[in-house]
């Protein structure tokens, strides 16, 4: 029983990175912009966060540094894509490539560094409930903040005026523009907020999840987060679900290996990716579903005045 509680806890931890990045990318995509540079942004944020944590010893400053790094990179991306109308997919890929090279480059000095041990986190009282306690309530505060943020984002998107405007920009920037909204500026803000969240996710990896810096340490999580937004049909709660699903399958396959299950470890490692494809297919099968949920202008350039 205890093992399952711990497995659940590990799932929450593993899924949080994907969840934060996924929510950020969701904000991005809701405004109509696809940012394939998630991986690069997370890497740069990871080294920024790690370096800050090493220099200042503060986790929260590290998250702030990561958010800043992500926002700056996303800002550069945003200017290119929104004002200069460069192809979103290619620009995003360029951002990814640049981010991995740049982070490796800047991080050379930090590969030998390590962070002081972190205190154990546990929610008082709740953390001691048998089973549920170790499963749910002994996580880093960021795990809970993520859930809170998801709730807040859902409220923002569906209940607030600003959220409505954001969704309108994503559905039909031309109409929003005709109504007098500063479409490009709104998109830039969305892109930068999305980048900041990817940054926080990146910093979480290097400061909390694996408190080290190594080049390429994000190891594909940025790409998985991108998959999650589609998988989640652009709804915040489903992003979280998908993130935990993916995190859970990842931890499960290690668990199965440790138990000596006679399935080859490579086949087990494939599981999370196959699971993602399967769910993607199930969701996409209904074209109406996708059409009603995907921001209609996603990936398309916007020319004001047309």
């Amino acid at each position: 029983m205890d093992t399952y509680a711990l497995l659940l806890a590990a799932t929450l931890n593993a899924g949080t990175v994907l969840a934060i990045a996924g929510l950020g990318l969701l904000i991005n995509e809701r405004s109509g912009i696809v940012n394939l540079g998630a991986e690069g942004m997370m890497l740069v944020a990871a080294i920024a966060g790690f370096a800050t944590a090493v220099q200042t010893g503060s986790d929260w400053l590290a998250f702030g540094a990561g958010a800043l790094a992500g926002a700056v990179m996303a800002g550069a991306f945003g200017v290119l894509v929104i004002w200069l109308n460069t192809n979103q997919y290619a620009t995003g890929l360029a951002l990814s490539l640049f981010g991995s090279g740049f982070s490796a480059f800047v991080g050379i000095k930090y590969t030998q560094e390590h962070l002081a041990a972190r205190p154990h986190f546990a929610v008082p009282v709740l953390g001691d409930i048998p089973f549920i306690g170790p499963a749910l309530f002994r996580q880093h505060p960021m795990v809970y903040l993520t859930v809170l943020f998801m709730v807040g984002l859902t409220w923002f998107l569906y209940r607030s005026r600003a959220g409505l405007v954001l969704r309108a920009v994503g559905e039909s920037p031309e109409s929003a523009h005709a109504l007098g909204y500063p479409v490009r500026r709104i998109r830039l803000v969305a892109v930068m907020v999305g980048g900041a969240l990817c940054g926080v996710a990146g910093a979480y990896i290097s400061v909390v999840y694996t408190p080290l810096w190594v080049e390429g340490m994000v190891a594909g999580k940025g790409w998985i987060a991108l998959a999650l937004t589609t998988f989640a049909t652009w709804r915040p709660s489903r992003v979280l679900l998908g993130a935990y699903l993916f995190g859970g399958v990842t931890m499960l396959q290690f668990h199965l290996q440790g138990e000596g299950v006679a399935i080859s470890s490579q086949l087990l490692t494939m599981l999370p990716y196959l699971a993602t494809i399967a769910v993607l297919v199930l969701i996409s099968r209904n074209p109406v579903w996708i059409r009603t949920n995907m921001p209609a202008s996603l990936g398309k350039p916007f020319f004001p005045g047309s």
Partner: protein
């Protein structure tokens, strides 16, 4: 012609003129006075003259799998290189290339090392075997040293460390320190060396605590800190409280630290990465071998072969044993160390059974290097099967 084709023709012209300009620039740069340290002879004429003249230092090059800052495997090799420099000073000149992928690119790196005048070249990972063989075949005057491989040539030899000795000693400590009688290993890639290490860890633990069980997870890479973390976490969640790793970063130790469990450093001294969790580090000390190899090359006594050094030759050691380890356990480790040093103690001595019940080593028989080199089974006490076995 359509617009696009005309544009592409114009583009072609633009690129070609750029290439021509670059080539011309290159020609003029050849005349530039290049700094003395790294001279660049024409790449085509690759044959490098052996450093026979007393004045010219022996040029030695190292190819590393990972970054020197990985705190693990490559870090240990680089420490060996630094020890070599310290010992032989002006007689040699060393360079290194890090993060050389184990693919077709490696061949190019080795060829360039030869072209740069290096006559003693070390390839520090198994995957360089085929590229090194190819380059060795074309450059008979250059000496090649391949770590952890098995193919040799007249001018290429193999060297390795008995990492399993370090694993065994770690196992002794693990067996004594575990409270749950379950210990774990985060494995990298299921090659004989790693399987041997897992087995030796188990044998060591069983020598002080016959009840222990060993759980294994495979990351399927040498180096992937987030995956290593996840693997370590799942072992801990499965009940293991002392972890060994065969991967190259300090992630496993850090995860143990986070969870209040124990772990060992691997390849290099990792105490700093997890002071509370760290019990000891099994380190690779490459300095003595590198010094010997360089001296062989300098003296002209270099011959091919297969070197496998361990505690006896000072290539493996279990260091920084924590104060948490009780004195009697430490004494046991010291006894093993002494026994390995003078050759009186053999880790792989029968009777040894694999975990499917078959007898692998008869009672009283000591395994020879051939047996050790081809270990494909898990000893009794290890859970699960070796991946890839039928």
């Amino acid at each position: 012609m359509t617009t696009s084709t005309r544009r592409s023709v114009l583009r072609t012209t633009a690129w070609s003129s750029l290439a021509v300009a670059a080539a011309l620039a290159g020609c003029s740069k050849k005349e530039e006075a290049a700094p003395a340290a790294a001279s660049e002879p024409a790449a085509a004429s690759a044959a490098a003259a052996p450093a026979s003249s007393a004045s010219a230092p022996l040029k030695i090059a190292f190819a590393y799998l990972g970054p020197v800052g990985d705190g693990g495997w490559t870090f240990a090799h680089d420490n060996g290189r630094k020890a070599l420099e310290k010992e032989l000073g002006s007689q040699i000149q060393t360079t290194f290339v890090e993060s050389v992928p184990e693919s077709a690119d490696a061949e190019r790196v080795f060829r360039d090392m030869v072209a740069q005048g290096n006559t003693l070249i070390f390839g520090t990972s198994f995957g360089y075997m085929e590229p090194m063989l190819k380059v060795a075949a074309d450059n008979k005057a250059v000496h090649f040293e391949h770590a952890t491989g098995y193919k040799t040539a007249d001018n290429m030899r193999v060297y390795d460390n008995r990492t399993y000795e370090g694993a065994y000693m770690a196992g002794v400590i693990a067996g004594g320190m575990t409270k749950t009688n379950t210990i774990g290993v985060v494995g990298s890639i299921p090659i004989p060396e790693v399987i041997r290490n897992i087995d030796s860890y188990t044998l060591g633990a069983q020598s002080v605590n016959p009840k222990i069980k060993v759980k294994v997870v495979w990351v399927n890479e040498w180096f992937n800190p987030p995956k290593e973390t996840e693997g370590a976490q799942s072992l801990i969640d499965g009940g293991a409280d002392v972890l060994l790793q065969n991967t190259d970063s300090s992630a496993v130790l850090q995860t143990a630290e986070k969870n209040g469990k124990y772990a060992f450093g691997w390849d290099s001294d990792m105490t700093a990465y997890g002071p509370k969790a760290h019990l000891a580090s099994s380190v690779n000390i490459w300095g003595p071998y590198y010094i010997k190899a360089a001296k062989d090359a300098l003296a002209g006594t270099w011959t091919t072969g297969h070197t496998w050094w361990g505690v006896k030759e000072g290539a493996i050691d279990l260091v920084s044993i924590s104060d948490k380890v009780p004195a009697d356990l430490k004494a046991k480790v010291d006894k093993v160390k002494a026994g390995l040093k003078d050759g009186s103690f053999a880790i792989w001595k029968g009777p040894i059974k694999s975990n499917d019940g078959k007898e692998q080593l008869k009672d009283g028989v000591t395994a020879d290097d051939a047996f050790l080199g081809g270990i494909k089974f898990f000893v009794k006490g290890v859970e699960g099967q070796v991946p890839g076995n039928k």
